[in-house]
Subunit: 331 residues, 2 copies
């Protein structure tokens, strides 16, 4: 396998880590973010890390920590998950989430839900309180109600920023289709498909866990589901290898089973987490034209955060509680 | 890796094959099937094989052949896919399907659709006519309508056998919950979760393809989705390794990313298709209590059909047009 330049690999991996989070990857450039917005993103990533870290410090499991961290990001309108989810073409917010426990190999996922305040908590309920793994649509919403999880009305998910993004996107697409679009075109411009959130963690017992939550793509149609809720594509966890949460252009991540492929390379070729994650993102995903990144952790606290986009909202916290957050490539 | 006894492996693999189909795995025992029903199943499997073989003989692609074969099985009420789909708890038929092209690495999948006559054809349309990979629910049905695919009314999917299975299953579950069920119990008895159909093929150009279609579990609730429409779990195709279609208790296949794991073992450890497929079914799936099987083919025409249940409706056709169909383990 072709290895990456040392400089790049070093920037994307570290050790002694207990929890990693991401808030999406994409064309995130300093000229597009005000210093105030940069600070807000970093503050929120750090809050998620500290909340999950508190769980781990109290002896809770990696599953607890990733759920807690993702809930913080879902509750923050800055990110395209939970509260800040983007709008579908018909002005709705359809949410996807998945969680996996590397100790038990159990998983839970939901797609296209519109009612739960925290889709990641519903995904965890699917894993722990039903014989299922994957629920979609109105049926999944019904489970949230039957289990008395926190339910919100649609206006909860309404944010001015996302509504404006929908209007802008629809304007761009109507201009595009006027010049020869086929009616099924979804603009795959960089800014309408990112912002997914996720977390991976390792707990005191050496169990790893992964969690991912998203509002999908702005102006999405036809019940489109990306990689986030798909076990093996956007989310994975196995103590023998690693936990992974992905973000990016989901169709490419689905076609490559990205999260499982990283784990499979570790398991079958003995390569490190760092090299497995970097190879899949920089070689496999890039080769087919996909963009995005992953966060991954193994049971020894090695973490990798490779991405092939200009930036990825990301951060990690080490065993001693030191928080590192960053946005752009060179940080 | 622990290898299987030679006798078992030989019964489950062969070479010189161009197309393999399955019609589900489960507690399929001679005492549960009349000779007439056995003949009907075998006749239908053979029809599917011959239809897909005709495509290949005409120089069509592996994708064409697997779609054609799966459509034959979807149109036959004997199988739990398309026409013969089982009923959900509220008396509906919710269909899932996926298709993947090993030459291009492209894929299409749909979950929870109720309108298309042939869900596999909708999955193929997602792959070839949209920028998406995975669509769920009403949105996916809308695409079928917008593309003018064949649409049917709900009574098309009504069959007396499946309706009786729903009533029997609901009776069993109500007896179960009366004796302490938790309200989320879905009986996982052998006969309510099998009957998925699938096909894998290799064409003259050496491209492999895989396709899977299912009606899911009898009496399913909460929008449950199994492994069939999940790329990497129930369906996979990659020319470098193999094409796979799975059938069985989907939750276990999702948790193991079964289809991608078979391909990953071939790619990263150099093991044969036969051994990769047998190890995943007989070791990994069995270890966590899962039941079912897969059909798989590589570009050289090696095929594997391992299953850990009493039977699997299955068949393959060789380059010279010889058809082999079987149901039970010892055939």
């Amino acid at each position: 396998m072709k290895l990456l330049p040392e400089s790049l690999r070093c920037a994307e991996s570290t050790s002694g880590v207990v929890l990693v989070v991401h808030g999406g990857a994409g064309t995130i450039l300093p000229e597009n973010l005000t210093p105030q917005l940069e600070d807000a993103f970093k503050h929120s990533l750090a809050s998620a890390l500290r909340a999950g870290y508190d769980d781990l410090q109290q002896g809770k499991s990696a599953i607890d920590a990733v759920e807690t961290a993702v809930r913080v990001l879902e509750d923050d309108p800055l990110f395209n998950a939970g509260r800040g989810a983007v709008f579908t073409a018909d002005g709705r917010n359809e949410l996807d989430a998945a969680i996996m426990d590397g100790g038990t190999g159990k998983a839970g996922a939901v797609a296209g839900v519109v009612k739960p305040k925290n889709p990641i908590t519903l995904a965890r309920a699917v894993m722990e309180r039903t014989p299922f793994v994957f629920l979609a649509g109105a049926g999944a919403d019904r489970l949230a109600e039957d289990l008395h999880l926190a339910i919100v009305d649609p206006p909860y998910f309404w944010t001015e920023t996302r509504w404006k993004q929908l209007n802008d996107q629809q304007k761009r697409e109507s201009e595009g289709s006027a010049s020869g679009g086929d009616g099924f075109t979804m603009s795959l411009s960089e800014d309408n498909k990112f912002g997914t959130v996720g977390a991976v963690a390792v707990d005191n017992a050496g169990n790893v866990a992964g969690a991912t939550s998203t509002g999908g793509m702005t102006n999405k149609r036809y019940g489109r589901v990306g990689d986030s809720p798909v076990i093996g594509a956007g989310t994975w966890a196995d103590n023998e290898t690693c936990a992974v949460s992905a973000t990016g252009h989901g169709e490419y991540f689905l076609r490559l089973a990205v999260a499982h492929d990283i784990a499979a390379r570790m398991r079958y070729t003995g390569v490190s987490l760092e090299n497995a994650a970097a190879e899949v993102i920089h070689h496999e995903v890039s080769k087919i034209g996909g963009s995005g990144g992953v966060i991954a952790i193994d049971r020894h606290g090695n973490a990798a955060l490779p991405f092939n986009t200009a930036g990825m909202y990301r951060g990690y916290i080490t065993r001693d509680g030191t928080v590192h957050v960053s946005i752009y490539r060179e940080e």
